[in-house]
Each structure stands twice: as C-alpha cells, then as structure tokens.
Symmetry: none
Subunit: 412 residues, 2 copies
C-alpha cells in the first residue's frame, strides 16, 4: 500500500500571509514522484498547543508526517520541543552537530550566539539530515509506525535537504515509482476535456488521466505507478496515445513549457524567422515569444502600433483600409502582418488588432472582438475571435494564445 | 473579540504540487488587515470524506471558514455538495445565476456544456458573491455561529471575489472599521524599509506601519482601526506624512496600481505622449504600459528591435554606433530612444537594451547589464544598470521598472 503523508508547516508568517507556502508545493511534487500520497497540507502558527493538536491528528490519519519550519535558533521556534513532547522522545544534544555549528561560524569569521546551539538538539535516536544551505539540521524518526521528518522552512534549505536527506530515507520505505506525462491544451477548456474523456477518466485506474485548469488553457496529466521507471513508461505510452486519439487536435505539446516555447522550437527546427505587429496586445505577443531563452535565434522583432499613424507609417497599412474598415478589421490585421513581414524580412509574421476593453473602440466594435493574422510567403490568413466581455488581461492573453496556436498549427 | 479563521483549500492539484497555494497567502494578508486572526491553513484533495472531516474540525475551532477551490463545473469538484451536507443546507439552483451563465456563454459565442449549470447551484439562502473574472460564483452563509465563505480557486478570481464580495461581508461582522493606505516603493527593498523605519514600526500601534515584499518591489501599508471611516482616515493622514518624510524619495505612489499606471496618469495630466524601443525586454515595456486601461490616450506605440537590422532600419540607429559600441551600450540606448521619438512623434520615448540571459551577448557583456534611456525634446538621459546574474524574468522586469521609474521622476 502506498504511504500516506501530511505536510505540517509551522510559522505565523504563513498565517499572516507574509510568505507563501512554497515548501508544500515543492515537497508535494517530489513526494508524488516517489509514490507517496499526500493527503493533507496543514499550516499552524508558532503555537505549541495548536502544533501538538495538529501532530496528534496527523499521526491518527497518515503514516508519514513532514514538518517544515521552526528549526532555527530564534525564540519562537518551538517546533522541535513540541514534536518531542508529542511523540515521547527526548530532545538531546548531538555533540557532532554542535562541533559542526562551531566550525561553520568560525569559517565565516562570525561569533556564534549561544542560542545557535539549540540547532544541535534533535530527538534522540534520529536520522540526522545535514543542512548544506543553512545552519539548522533536520531529521527523521519512526514512532509507532509513523515516520516523522523535520525539515527547515526556507525553501532552498528545505528543497536541498529533501533531496539529500529525506528522499533517500523515504525511498528506503517504499516500493515502486510514479511517472507522468502532461498534455498541454489550447482551444478547449477543462470541462470540454472532462466531457470528451469522461469514460477514460472514470475507467482508468493505472495509468490515470486527470484534467487541470490553467489560467488561459488547460492540461491533462496521465500518471502511472509501477515497480520501475521503465515499467511506468511502458504503461504511460499507450495511455497517452489513447488520449491523444480523442483530443490530440487541441494538444500543442506533451511535457512542454508553453505555446511560445513550442513555436520557438518549431521555428528553430525549420531555420525560419518570425516578426510581430501588435495593436491591442500592446507588446504582449513579442514579450511572450522573447520569454523563451534563445528566442533571438528566430524572432527578429516587432512593432506595437497603438495608433493608426504608426500602422500606416511604420507597417505601411494603407490609409484607405483604415478609413474604410477601421483598425479593428480583418483587412487591417492582414495588412499589419504583411507589413511586419516586409519591414523585417521575417519568414512568418503574426498580427493582432482588436478591442481589449474596458471601453469599445468608438466604431461600435464590441469589447472582445479581435482579429489575428498570420502571414508567410504564400499570403496571409485571418482569424476572427469573439472573446466576449472579459477582463482586458484575459482578452489580451487569449489573443496572443490564438496567434501562437495559429503559428504552431502552420508549422506542425 | 477578534474573529478566528481557518482557510481550507480544496484541490488534488495542490496535494500533487502542481500549483502553490497562492490563495492562502493572498487571503491571509487581507484578513490580517481586517483584524481577523487566521489560525490554520488546511489543504485537502477532491475527496468528500476528508473535506467533510476538515470542515467538521474547522467549525469546532474557528468562527470563520473560508474555502477556496472546487466551485468549477468539472466532475471532481464536489466541494459545494460536501459543504451543504456538512452544514445541513440544500444545494439549490439560483435561476439568476443560470441566466447570467447562459448570457456569458452567448456573449462569447460558445455553446454551454450542461455541466456548467452546476455553477449556478449554491447553498440555499446564501449571500451570493459574483465572479467578475470567471464563471464560478461564490457565496457566504452563517450556520450555528460559524460563517462559511466559498471562493473560487484560480488566484485572480479568488482575489477579486474576496475584494468585491467577501471583504464587505466580513467588514459587516466586525465593529469599527479598518482602513489603510499603501505606499508603493521602487528602488529600495523590504529590509531597507525595515531599517529606515524600525523605530516607527516598533512604536506605532494605531495606526501601524508594515513593509511587504513584492516580487520586484516592495510596499508599506499604514493601517488604522477606528469607529468610523472618517476617524480612521484622520489617524492615517499624519502617519502617512510621517513615513513619507523618511522614505518619500522611493515612493512612486500611494494607493496606486503600478508604476505604469502612475506614468500613464502623469502623461495624461500633461497631455503628453510616449513611445518605446525595446531590445532585451522584447515588448514587456509596451505590454506593461498598455496593461493600463486607457493607455491609448498617451501611448503611441513601440518597436521591438530584437536584431541590429531592425535597430538600424526601423529606429535609425547608426550602423557605426552598433559596430563601435555594440547593441548593449549607452550610445545605442540613447539612439534607440531618440529614434523611437522621431519615428512616432511622441513627446517622450523610453528604450531598453541589455543582456537578459541566460547567455551573454557574445561581446563579453555580462548577464544583467542593461542600458535604459529616456528621450524628450531636451535630449536623452541614459542609465546603466547591473542587475547581476539573476533570472531572465527578473532582469527584464527590473529593466522595465527602471525605465518607468525614470519617466515618473521626470514627469513628477
């Protein structure tokens, strides 16, 4: 049976919203890979009574408890003593840790305040986890069939100690691995995926398929458990194929970063270049493409033509088109894309013109009406989008996604 | 007595580490300002039994429960039914929400899957919270002295609904009002603010002053409690003045949205226009300016000159400068800003050229070296920035912040 875990973060600064519980995300992701089912995250403040209650509840419902935070030298860090009290262990000095701390401070030429020695205390008979990024060691012990692991709060200390200390400890407990593939989708939502794949989602047990909503897109994760990574992969491959047969049309990539990274990679593979001409997206399309490291190999540049003057002067959009159809129109989108291509000499050019809101454009076009065009040597294609009365951010993001999706389909 | 709250996030994707519990951080910060003590954060998966247990425990130990997530239309979103079962309320159809959903889909020209109607169900006799950023409404009700608030999971939906729905609901529960002003700071960090204001932070009790770190900037919040809004404001005003006397130089605005919104407002006030020329920021500067609704009144457009060819051809940067100094240089930054101003006829032009990484520029310039220029009728000023070996996103964001801060100081 898979191990079941609860993560307990200790820190009033989390409850005040001063920091976000990054540790829980990092550890959950790693634990999923190890085949440990994380059932609960809990956050309590620096309050011994509430921590003790949380620990008591946790030991009744999971067999792995991982605490983060509260190992440092400061006054309000009472985690260790509370854990010792709850599990009936003594908090004892580990002389080798005291020596290590003294050496650490000596090497930094800094005097060591006596409070720092608190960090050399851990529950008796525990497995010590060394801290390679800080001064607070962590540990693990098992009491009554429940494994308790204590990790430091700062994310870079926590993450490294998990990798070097906790992960080997946990691997020794478990059998098997969990592996997954992520299908990234644009153009259909989470509920569409749910409807299209309902049978598979309900019937599949290993691998499983689950849809996840993202802010402007969605994804499907196919996950398998097996004895080895190879066996997990062997289970995954046919499941991914099966899912792709149903929804492949909307999948822009498997295990990829983003639509823009897929476009940059496809352009690189063809040795082709890209330019952009943007009106309502105001630079967001160029920004998204240049978010991808190495985009300079394929992206030549772009024009943000926020006024008709710039559209005609820089992009050579004929004034007659602007007069006749207005800036938010298919003919102008086409002329912008062709103009950007001519100006830069790029193989492909994308353009966007539309009404991102909150106000209309004065010509009666509704908020959310956007034209996206893609030009190449063969001419230009235009797509009309009606995103409706959504926020400006949403309309702009969807306009860029539509443009990138047109490009990846053309290059695909 | 202060209200005590528990935040319960529902979502297997949190337990798998696919996403971080941003909602808990956002809500905790806002609740602290409202004078609500947050005692616990809890995360459970899409599992009715565990959610029910978490709710049962929560109602025994706090008087405000706020759930996030699980309001969407998909199969595994069972939050609402479980909350209804636990608190003995019926889950009923709100016809006005069903109409609203149908209108929303009609406006987007998209067919509405029947599963979407689930979103129009809420516990009977609840206060409905409208969702201005998505399709899932939230709500609040009180049962046996415990207030239960249900908010959607996606952070931008959750945050907006908290502000527009939950916050007024919670304010109505407490006596007196809490009011605050937020001083937005660029160019100094949280720890600088802490040092500069230590005395005031420690001594002030009502109002209080607290610094908060943001990804690329920081802010100070001055908060007062009083019987009425007028009394709170009367307490706040001298406190804000006192803080401004110490750190005013770095405060770009009080209760403002962003550096870019301050710039757009200042340009509007002068009837002046702006253009941009970007290399390493690749459109981010233009994007940020056009994030501001109404930016079209002052922003004419920009050029993303990601290659030297575009810099010389479109922006008229002399080839001799590019050859002699390279694209990442003060003379080229100056020529880009002047070129953008000449091309567009704008009153002000900002330019950015630098090395955002992850690789150097082939001329030996280090990652993080960026030149930012501001041109107006009197000429151009250039600022050299060394952001160091940070992430590409960080360097690009800081480059844009530097450019906008130069402009707001010039206009200020």
């Amino acid at each position: 049976m898979a191990h079941r875990a609860e993560l307990i973060a200790v820190g009033t600064e989390l409850l005040l919203g001063s920091i976000v519980n990054t540790d829980a995300q990092i550890l959950s992701e790693r634990l999923a890979e190890l085949g440990v089912d994380v059932l609960y995250h809990t956050v309590v403040g620096d309050n011994p009574r509430r921590l003790r209650e949380a620990l008591t509840l946790a030991r009744s419902r999971v067999d792995i408890i991982i605490t983060t935070g509260g190992l440092g030298p400061t006054y309000d860090d009472l985690t260790k003593q509370t854990i010792c009290d709850t599990f009936g262990r003594k908090n004892v000095l580990y002389p080798e840790l005291a020596d290590w701390l003294r050496d650490l401070f000596a090497a930094r030429n800094r005097p060591m305040a006596e409070t720092n020695l608190q960090q050399a205390y851990l529950p008796e008979n525990c497995t010590v986890f060394h801290n390679h990024n800080g001064t607070a060691p962590g540990c693990a012990f098992c009491e009554g069939g429940v494994h308790v692991l204590m990790l430091p709060g700062p994310p870079r200390e926590c993450e490294l100690m998990f990798r070097t200390g906790a992960e080997p400890y946990l691997r020794a407990l478990s059998e098997g691995v969990i592996a997954s593939h992520t299908l990234r989708i644009y153009g259909k939502g989470e509920s569409d995926m749910e409807s299209l794949l309902r049978d598979k989602i309900e019937k599949m047990t290993n691998p499983t398929v689950a849809p996840y909503a993202r802010s402007d897109e969605c994804m499907l994760r196919v996950t398998a458990k097996a004895a080895t990574a190879e066996e997990a992969e062997a289970l995954l491959r046919p499941a991914v194929d099966e899912v792709m047969a149903v929804v492949g049309e909307w999948v822009y990539g498997v295990d990829v970063d983003s639509l823009e990274s897929v476009c940059v990679a496809a352009l690189k593979a063809r040795g082709a270049t890209l330019a952009a001409a943007e009106s309502c997206t105001g630079g967001l399309l160029a920004k998204r493409v240049t978010d991808v490291p190495g985009a300079s190999a394929v992206f030549l540049g772009g024009v943000v033509s926020y006024t008709n003057g710039i559209k005609s002067k820089v992009l050579n959009v004929p004034q007659s088109l602007l007069d006749e159809y207005g800036a938010v129109s298919a003919p102008v989108a086409r002329a912008m894309a062709e103009g950007a291509r001519a100006l830069t000499g790029a193989d492909y050019a994308l353009s966007v013109t539309g009404v991102a809101g909150p106000d209309g454009d004065g010509r009666g076009n509704p908020v959310g009406l956007v034209y996206v065009a893609l030009a190449d040597a063969a001419g230009a294609t235009v797509k009309e989008c009606r995103f409706g009365r959504r926020t400006r951010d949403h309309i702009r993001a969807q306009s860029v996604n539509t443009a990138l999706d047109m490009l990846r389909r053309r290059l695909g």
